[in-house]
């Protein structure tokens, strides 16, 4: 196929995804463009090649799920679970993201220009997430590794049951979750925020961010914290 443009009004999603799974190395450097997603689910799931994919419009569930290596841009809003379990590569949502953005992502970078809804970065396993706007409640719940930069405000219970993941927040935090605490920013924190903001093409000042990490009180069973588990 020479033309790497697909119209989901004309081509079934299965055919598009099959193309994205097959022989993409030969098209490296050529952008794949997908038009009229119309909220379809599972667009560009399981891509495993260093290619550029642009999706023009709003998408449904699990866009770019389990992405490896690809650079995927959604020129619109993304539904639940965008970039879920991403392993590497980069997913950029130009609009807003629904619930569970970047859930259990192990690697790579997820950028959301607008707001992200509830449970952004839930069970994060090592990826980086940068949100230009606000995030909803229970974001980074049980996040184990990775970094989140939130340029706006957060909902309730931010960072509940964190392990080693670190969250940087510029705006107000409605409430922290169990075992999450605000910590002083160190030099490496400013560097991390600066690095991620630069990658996401945001111009906020790293000095405006605060660091949230685990207090590590739940790392070992504590009978006196029974409602925290």
């Amino acid at each position: 196929m020479d033309d790497l443009t697909f119209d989901l009004n004309q081509t079934p999603l299965r055919q598009v995804n099959q193309f994205l799974h097959d022989n993409l190395q030969q098209y490296a450097g050529q952008p794949v463009r997908i038009f009229h997603p119309n909220g379809a689910h599972n667009i560009a799931v399981g891509v495993n090649a260093p290619i550029e994919i642009d999706i023009f419009g709003h998408t449904g569930y699990y866009t770019a799920g389990m992405n490896q290596l690809a650079n995927i841009t959604i020129h619109g809003n993304a539904g639940p679970g965008v970039a879920e379990n991403m392993m590497s590569g980069r997913v950029h949502v130009k609009g807003f993201a629904s619930v569970s953005a970047g859930a259990s992502a192990h690697g790579g970078l997820l950028i959301i220009d607008g707001d992200a809804s509830l449970r952004c970065g839930i069970s994060l396993k090592g990826a980086d997430i940068v949100v230009g706007g606000n995030v909803g409640s229970f974001s980074a719940f049980m996040a184990q590794a990775g970094r989140m930069v939130i340029c706006g405000n957060t909902g309730d219970a931010l960072g509940d049951s964190l392990y080693e993941a670190v969250i940087y927040v510029r705006g107000t935090i409605k409430s922290l979750g169990a075992d999450a605490q605000v910590e002083p920013m160190a030099d490496q924190d400013y560097e991390a925020v600066n690095e991620l903001l630069t990658k996401a093409d945001f111009t906020f000042d790293p000095n405006e961010f605060q660091r949230i990490a685990s207090a590590k009180q739940l790392y070992h069973w504590n009978a006196d914290a029974n409602q925290e588990y």
Binding site: Y61, N85, S123, M142, W221, A223
Partner: protein, 455 residues
């Protein structure tokens, strides 16, 4: 009789506050901590033992055990997958994680499953290279925790099992104590070494059956619709849950009853949450029949399956296959008083005693100090279970179950184990008759049915 013996002889224990419950209350009062343990339910529950087969005599014609063949081949995942699972027997090995089990055990399970032509299953913690290499047919679990969940491994698997819940703890997450989180386990699970692992009770990126539909589609897209998708539920409301799993698009539904084992969870969960496997099977089959999906979506039953008779009874009620976890560990030597190392038997009794238990009573999987090297990550203890020894024992056990299964099937006049039917069964107790909905032995009465049936 001296005075002390006389007193002991006439002491009467309270039924409501016996030594077991006294011990529980006193421990709770002393420590402010509920018990976390491994293994499955300990108390007696209605089970397949409460059913018996009606072997053929005059009204039915049996098959000759030593001359007439009985088919055991089993196919799973025929609904949508382009590559269904083909097994030589309807007995599979359940998901048990590396982390909970040692790497040697995972390898042994893979080798045994391959030798007898069945499948084994990963677990929390992901797929190890040893496990993939040793297993011809490997089912890859997608669990709420998503520890080590990796699309490359999904593609390397032969089927994917989305775990909603476990029979030992429907609705519950997990708590694996840090002593089992060694450097390799920690790396696979993206956790610091030695910390307690808290597993989520539900998937992070979907919240209900409608979302599950899309999740299944995502996994199908990832694997180009080749791999069967199993959905595993802990038995609590199996009629509704099986229907919803089928509606969501499952190729295979796995129903795990409350006798199912666990690596570590609250004892109160194990003993008091969920319903027995016997009750769950019939409800699950009802759901498939109600949807006219029997035979189109396959049913695997697990939770306390131990013998070929258990397998045969599950199949007769309507399962397509069974899955075994706890009894497989016992075939490896779990709760045995010895272990085999370098060709010699060694006593493990002192190690059981050091844990405060004894062979036959152990439920200390969560401690990581398994005296026979099964549920451990300890470098020395895991050597007590050598992969070739373990594989041989599991192979022997599975072969025995399969022989028992075919023996019963032939006695019931079946040349294929999948032809076993509910009409081949009666119940020994009213409870079992009501749950399995088969007649009480010697009668034509099924509790709950006003009209008697005639065999």
């Amino acid at each position: 009789m001296n005075d002390s013996l006389h007193r002991l002889f006439f002491l009467e224990e309270s039924a409501g506050y016996n030594r077991h419950i006294l011990n529980y209350i006193q421990n709770a009062a002393a420590h402010g901590l509920y018990e976390i343990r491994g293994l499955g339910a300990k108390r007696r529950l209605p089970h397949f033992d409460d059913l018996v087969f009606l072997g053929a005599s005059l009204s039915r014609y049996p098959l000759e055990g030593y001359r007439e063949k009985c088919v055991t081949k089993t196919t799973l995942g025929t609904r949508y997958a382009s590559k269904p699972i083909e097994l030589e027997m309807p007995i599979t090995i359940a998901g048990m994680s590396f982390g909970s089990l040692s790497a040697n055990v995972k390898e042994a399970l893979g080798r045994a499953a391959t030798q007898v032509g069945t499948s084994t299953t990963t677990g929390d913690g992901g797929m190890t290279p040893e496990e993939r290499r040793s297993s011809k047919t490997l089912i890859y679990q997608c669990l709420p925790s998503r520890y080590g969940f990796n699309p490359d491994d999904v593609r390397r698997a032969d089927a994917i099992e989305i775990v909603i819940g476990q029979g030992a703890k429907p609705g519950g997450g997990g708590m694996l104590l840090g002593q089992k989180v060694n450097p390799r386990v920690a790396a696979m699970r993206t956790l610091p070494e030695g910390v307690d692992q808290r597993s989520a009770c539900r998937h992070p990126d979907w919240t209900g059956p409608d979302d599950l539909t899309i999740k299944i589609q995502e996994l199908r897209e990832l694997t180009d619709w080749q791999k069967p998708i199993y959905v595993k539920i802990g038995a609590s409301r199996p009629f509704n849950d099986v229907k919803l799993a089928v509606h969501a698009g499952a190729d295979v539904v796995v129903v795990d009853g409350m006798q199912g084992g666990t690596a570590a969870t609250q004892s109160v969960f194990i003993e008091h949450v969920g319903i027995p496997t016997l009750a769950a099977v019939r409800q699950a089959v009802d759901a498939l029949e109600d949807m006219n999906m029997k035979g189109k979506v396959q049913l695997i039953v697990s939770g306390g399956i131990r013998t070929g008779a258990d397998v045969a009874k599950a199949l007769a009620i309507g399962a397509d296959a069974v899955s075994i976890g706890q009894a497989i560990l016992m075939s490896l030597g779990c709760n045995s008083d010895t272990y085999i190392q370098n060709g010699a038997h060694h006593s493990a009794v002192d190690d059981y005693h050091a844990l405060g238990t004894a062979p036959g009573y152990c439920h200390h999987c969560h401690t990581g100090k398994c005296p026979v090297g099964v549920t451990t990550q300890d470098e020395q203890l895991e050597k007590r279970l050598e992969p070739d020894v373990g594989a041989r024992r599991v192979k022997n056990y599975l072969q025995t179950l399969n022989m028992e299964l075919t023996t019963i099937a032939r006695a019931c006049g079946k040349q294929n184990v999948h032809h076993l039917e509910r009409e081949d069964l009666v119940a020994l107790t009213i409870e079992a008759a009501a749950m399995a909905r088969v007649p009480l032995a010697g009668t034509n009465w099924i509790p709950g049915y006003t009209t008697a049936i005639h065999l």
